[in-house]
Every structure is written in structure tokens, then in C-alpha cells.
């Protein structure tokens, strides 16, 4: 800054020059200190930052514990969980468990109602994808056609067995259905996750 001093302009002139040199020296000393200090840059793809515990990143589904109760899907405020399955209760098979990350809020509400704690949130944070379609991530293990067919066949067989048993029971004791109710119902009770 060039200061004016009408009383002693010559002295002020040299004082201005001196302050210019001194302030430049201070600034240069500071920057050279930074020059020799360690850069704070993190070389991202090679070096990963440490994520604090409790970070809500991508979901993780442990499929073997999931019983397709769809409580998570019901709890989701933005309806970003899409579940499709075959069968009911213990015999159910998950065919589709997609999370649409273009809508997901990372609110963690889906993990709360899960009875088996099979949907949890991990610390994975790199969610970038190249297209809108790629935002929908399948979490369930993809099932082959043969597997689905086998499962359907198993379900049909069970259904058939159940029907056969029911008919057999009907034939055995057509008049006395009242005294023996438990054996008439050998099939597993319908899935009730709240029970």
C-alpha cells in the first residue's frame, strides 16, 4: 500500500519501499515453507480414505437369511427397493432384489424392520455410474432359468403332495372331521414374519 504523508514525503517514500520489501519477504517465507511441507493430496484411486464407522453407503443383503417379507420395501420412503420372488414363506425364492440408487436417500430405514437383520448398510461410497439404468443395482444372486424351473417344480410337487394329503384325509375320515383337527393340517403354516 502506498501511504501518503504530507509532513515528511521523502521519509514516507523510503518507508513505503521498505514496507514493500519487508512484506514481500514475509509472504515469500510463508510460501516456501508450504513448498517444503508435505502435500495433503490423497492419490484417490490408489489410496482410499478411511470411512468413519456408521457411514451409510451401499446396501448389503445376506440372501440366505432373507425370507422375502418385503418389510424393507414397505419401510422405504422413496420406494426404491424392488423385490420379486417365487413361492411363499420358507419355500420362497428371491428372484429379484434391486435398489434404485438414483432414488435412494441412504436413510437406513430399510434396515430397521428387517427381522433377520439381513439388509445392512456398508461403507462403500463410490456410487458413480455412467447411466440411469446402471443406478439400479441388483443385490440378489442372479438365478438361472434351470434353478427357477427346479424351484417351481419343487413348489408344484409340494402343492401336489399337500393336495394329495388333504384328499387322503378327506377320504379317510369323511364323517369325523371334528375330533381330529391337527392331523388335517400337516402343511406348514403360512409365512408370518411378525410371528
Amino acid at each position: 500500500m502506498i501511504r501518503q504523508n504530507p509532513k515528511n514525503p521523502l521519509r514516507q517514500y523510503f518507508a513505503n519501499i521498505w514496507s514493500g520489501i519487508a512484506t514481500t519477504y514475509i509472504g515469500m517465507r510463508l510460501t516456501i515453507r508450504y513448498f517444503f511441507s508435505k502435500p495433503v493430496t490423497m492419490r484417490y484411486p490408489e489410496v482410499r480414505p478411511e470411512i468413519p464407522k456408521g457411514h451409510r453407503g451401499l446396501h448389503k443383503l445376506s440372501e440366505e437369511h432373507c425370507m422375502v417379507c418385503k418389510a424393507c420395501s414397505a419401510a422405504c420412503p422413496v420406494e426404491c427397493i424392488i423385490i420379486e420372488s417365487i413361492g411363499k414363506g420358507k419355500d420362497s425364492m428371491l428372484t429379484r432384489f434391486d435398489i434404485d440408487y438414483s432414488r435412494c436417500l441412504f436413510c437406513e430405514l430399510c434396515t430397521v424392520p428387517c427381522p433377520n437383520a439381513c439388509i445392512t448398510m456398508t461403507e462403500a461410497y463410490d456410487l458413480a455410474s455412467a447411466s440411469r439404468e446402471a443406478c439400479i443395482l441388483p443385490l440378489a444372486r442372479p438365478k438361472s432359468e434351470a434353478e427357477i424351473a427346479a424351484h417351481k417344480a419343487m413348489l408344484a410337487q409340494k402343492e401336489a403332495e399337500k393336495k394329495a394329503k388333504q384328499e387322503a384325509a378327506k377320504k379317510e375320515t369323511p364323517p369325523a372331521t371334528e375330533p381330529k383337527p391337527p392331523p388335517t393340517n400337516p402343511a406348514p403354516p403360512p409365512a408370518d414374519p411378525q410371528a
Binding site: T31, I32, F35, K38, P39, V40, R43
Partner: protein
């Protein structure tokens, strides 16, 4: 260069291919200077590329980050990637541009930055044109840039460019005066305009306040520098360097291209290779200023590293001609061309490896190293200043030049004249 070219032409090439004698002398000199110019151009391009990388890296470290480090090892190929990017960019010219000046401006700026390289010596013998008026030549052709930049400012018909061009013209012309006066200090003290002669003066014996005289070449290598010979030269060095910052349009004097207010100043409307020309010219001009400051004030190639002594008469080309002369001339002429090439390279190898050849090579190599050390040190300080100081206002630029640097430079010249006259 001229005696070197002629000696090479008559003694070495002429002995192998007598038909070469029939080639007119001017053509030989033209070819010789073209080769020298091409080498200078290569060196200029190398400086520009290396220092764009250096600047970005140093800026990164000063800002506690890494700078470019992805392209190639440690990001060393970054300037190449930038070059490819600039080459493939679309060449856009504004509709309102005055086409002739618009096209000519980058070339003129580039030329102004390139021409001084021809007269800039690397070492005692390593110079394309050892001119008697070398210093005058360098300073004069540095100023060509002003015309090019005024053209670049006016031709595109953009207000940002015009502001940048006008600012640059005002700034450059003002700072030429203290820079010229500082060069005058050295001219008065050394009594020469020849850059090699100025460096030779700095290598001479040093007298300590008229009490004793130092002759030790190791001591005079540092104490003989102009800045230690006279306090006037020391102050002149600082003024020359500050003026050089302004002439190279570096921060804090980067008003002509002030990116935060003028977009990019005089090169706002240029893209692709035209922009690259401006960019290269800026970095090359910075190198010229730094090398010139090192030659004038910091002892040039008489550096901290001592060099082996070589008799002044010994030259590589002289050795070479004697080796060629050892061959029987009649026998030489009769050889097939591939054996002539063999003789050419064998005698060259002998000249480099025998007699005083290795000593000359070592002397020149260390001299170049000394000069580059100093020039690159000054270059680093330029970058360091840029990433430290903010841009100053145009009135402050003018105040600094006309009210501070100019009076001090005048006092330095007066002191130098008194010193040269009285001691």
C-alpha cells in the same frame, strides 16, 4: 559461429567431398545458421514445455497439493498431453477480427521470444551467434513482442483483448527503461556489449577494496560475479529482475492477461495452436530474462562449480581439421561414400576423445551446467513470486516503475560511472 562454419566447410567437408568447395560461402553460412537456429528453436520448445510442467508442479507444492502427476512417470508427459490437446483444438477466429493482424500476431510474439535465443550463450564456446552487440540485440528483440501483443489486442475486436494489449504496451515500454539502465550499469563496468566478454570480465581477478587482489579461480568463480564487484550492480540486479518480471508479464505484473478480470487479456480470442504460440512465447521469454540476468549479474558460466583450464587457442574444430589433414588427401577423395562417412565420424571421435577434446567438452559442459543452475534458480524464484504475491493495480505498476525503479536505476548508473572512472 562464422569462422567455425567456414573452417568446418573448407577443412573437414572439403577434404572428403572436394565438390563442396564449389558451394558459395553465403549458402554455407545460411545452412550453418539454420542448423543453429533449429537447435535454438528446439531448446526454446523444450524450455517452454519443461517449465509449464515445472510451474504447475511448483504451484501445486506451494499450495500443499501435488500438481500434475497422472500422465507418465510423475506426470512428466503432461506437457506432451497438453500439446496434443492444443493441436487438436478447433481454430476459432472471431467474425469481427481483422484477419491479417489476427493471424500475424501470435507469430510475431513467438518470433520476439525466439530471436534472443540465438545470441544467448550457454557457455564460452556454445553460442550460435557471438555478437559484439549481443546484449543490445537481446534487449531490442525482446521488445518486438510489444508490437505482436498490441496487434493481438486490437485485431480480434474484443474489449478484453484491447484492455490487455493496452496495459501490456504501457507496462512493457515503461519497464524497458529501468531494465535498459540496469544493463547500462554492467556495460559501464565491464566496458563491453558482448555477452561472452561481459562474462569474461566477471572471471577476472577481484580486488578487495583496493587492499588485496584475489586470483584464485575457485574464489573468483563466485566473488567475481558482477553483483559482488559493485553495490550498484547488486541493486541493478534486483531492478533488472523486477523489470524482467514485468516484461515477461508475470505476477504480480500480470495485468495484461489478468484472468480474473480480463478473461485472458490479449489472448482471450485465440485458441488451439495460436494460443500455444503465446503460451510458449511467455515461458521462453521468462527463460531469456533469467539467462540474461545470470549472464549479466551472476557470472554466467563462471559458477560455483570450477571448470578445467583449457588454452584459449584450443578448439574442437581445430583438432578435427588436424586429424582430417593426417589422411592422404588423394586417397580420401577416392573412397566410396560410406567409407567417407566412416572417416568423418572417426575423425570426429578422435577430436572429441583425444588431446584437449575431453577437457574442452568438460569445460563447456560444466559451464552450461553453471549457467543453467543460475537461470533455473531465477526461474524458480519467478514462479515462487507468482504464487505468493497478488496482482497489483495498473497505477501501482506505473508507480513502481517510474517512481521507484527508475530513480534507483539512475543512481546505480551514476555510481557505476563513478566507479569505472575512479577505480
Amino acid at each position: 559461429m562464422e569462422p567455425f562454419v567456414e573452417q568446418f566447410h573448407t577443412s573437414v567437408v572439403g577434404a572428403l567431398w572436394p565438390a563442396a568447395h564449389a558451394v558459395p560461402g553465403w549458402l554455407v553460412v545460411c545452412v550453418g545458421y539454420s542448423v543453429g537456429g533449429a537447435l535454438c528453436l528446439a531448446w526454446m520448445a523444450l524450455m517452454a514445455m519443461a517449465w509449464t510442467y515445472g510451474e504447475r508442479r511448483i504451484a501445486g507444492f506451494i499450495q500443499v497439493r501435488l500438481g500434475p502427476n497422472r500422465v507418465g512417470p510423475m506426470g512428466l508427459l503432461q506437457p506432451l498431453a497438453d500439446g496434443i490437446k492444443l493441436l487438436t483444438k478447433e481454430d476459432v477466429a472471431p467474425a469481427a477480427a481483422f484477419k491479417i493482424l489476427y493471424t500475424l500476431a501470435p507469430l510475431l510474439v513467438f518470433l520476439g521470444a525466439f530471436i534472443p535465443f540465438v545470441a544467448l550463450p550457454f557457455s564460452g564456446r556454445l553460442v550460435v551467434a557471438n555478437m559484439e552487440l549481443g546484449l543490445y540485440y537481446v534487449l531490442a528483440f525482446e521488445a518486438i513482442e510489444v508490437i505482436g501483443i498490441l496487434m493481438a489486442g486490437w485485431a480480434p475486436g474484443s474489449k478484453w483483448s484491447l484492455y490487455g494489449g493496452m496495459r501490456l504496451a504501457a507496462q512493457l515500454l515503461s519497464y524497458e527503461i529501468p531494465m535498459g539502465l540496469c544493463a547500462l550499469v554492467i556495460i559501464v563496468l565491464s566496458g563491453s556489449l558482448n555477452l561472452a566478454e561481459i562474462v569474461r570480465w566477471q572471471a577476472g581477478p577481484v580486488s578487495l577494496f583496493g587492499l588485496t587482489t584475489i586470483h584464485n579461480p575457485v574464489l573468483t568463480g563466485v566473488l567475481g560475479w558482477a553483483i559482488f564487484r559493485s553495490p550498484a550492480a547488486l541493486v541493478a540486479f534486483v531492478i533488472f529482475y523486477v523489470g524482467g518480471l514485468a516484461a515477461a508479464k508475470r505476477a504480480p505484473f500480470d495485468l495484461p492477461e489478468a484472468e480474473s478480470e480480463l478473461v485472458a487479456g490479449y489472448h482471450t480470442e485465440y485458441s488451439g495452436m495460436r494460443f500455444a504460440f503465446f503460451f510458449m512465447a511467455e515461458y521462453a521469454a521468462m527463460y531469456v530474462i533469467c539467462a540474461l540476468a545470470a549472464i549479466l549479474f551472476l557470472g554466467g558460466w563462471h559458477g560455483p562449480i570450477p571448470r578445467p583450464e583449457v588454452p584459449a587457442s584450443a578448439t574442437l574444430i581445430g583438432n578435427w581439421t588436424t586429424y582430417v589433414a593426417h589422411w592422404n588427401a588423394a586417397q580420401l577423395v577416392a573412397l566410396p561414400w560410406w567409407r567417407k562417412v566412416g572417416v568423418f565420424s572417426m575423425t570426429l571421435g578422435s577430436a572429441l576423445l583425444q588431446g584437449s577434446g575431453p577437457r574442452i567438452l568438460l569445460r563447456e559442459a560444466i559451464g552450461t551446467l553453471n549457467l543453467l543452475l543460475k537461470a533455473f534458480g531465477l526461474y524458480f524464484i519467478m514462479i515462487w513470486i507468482r504464487w505468493t504475491l497478488p496482482r497489483i493495480r495498473i497505477d501501482q505498476v506505473m508507480y513502481l516503475c517510474l517512481k521507484v525503479l527508475l530513480p534507483f536505476a539512475l543512481v546505480c548508473v551514476l555510481w557505476a560511472i563513478l566507479q569505472a572512472a575512479l577505480f
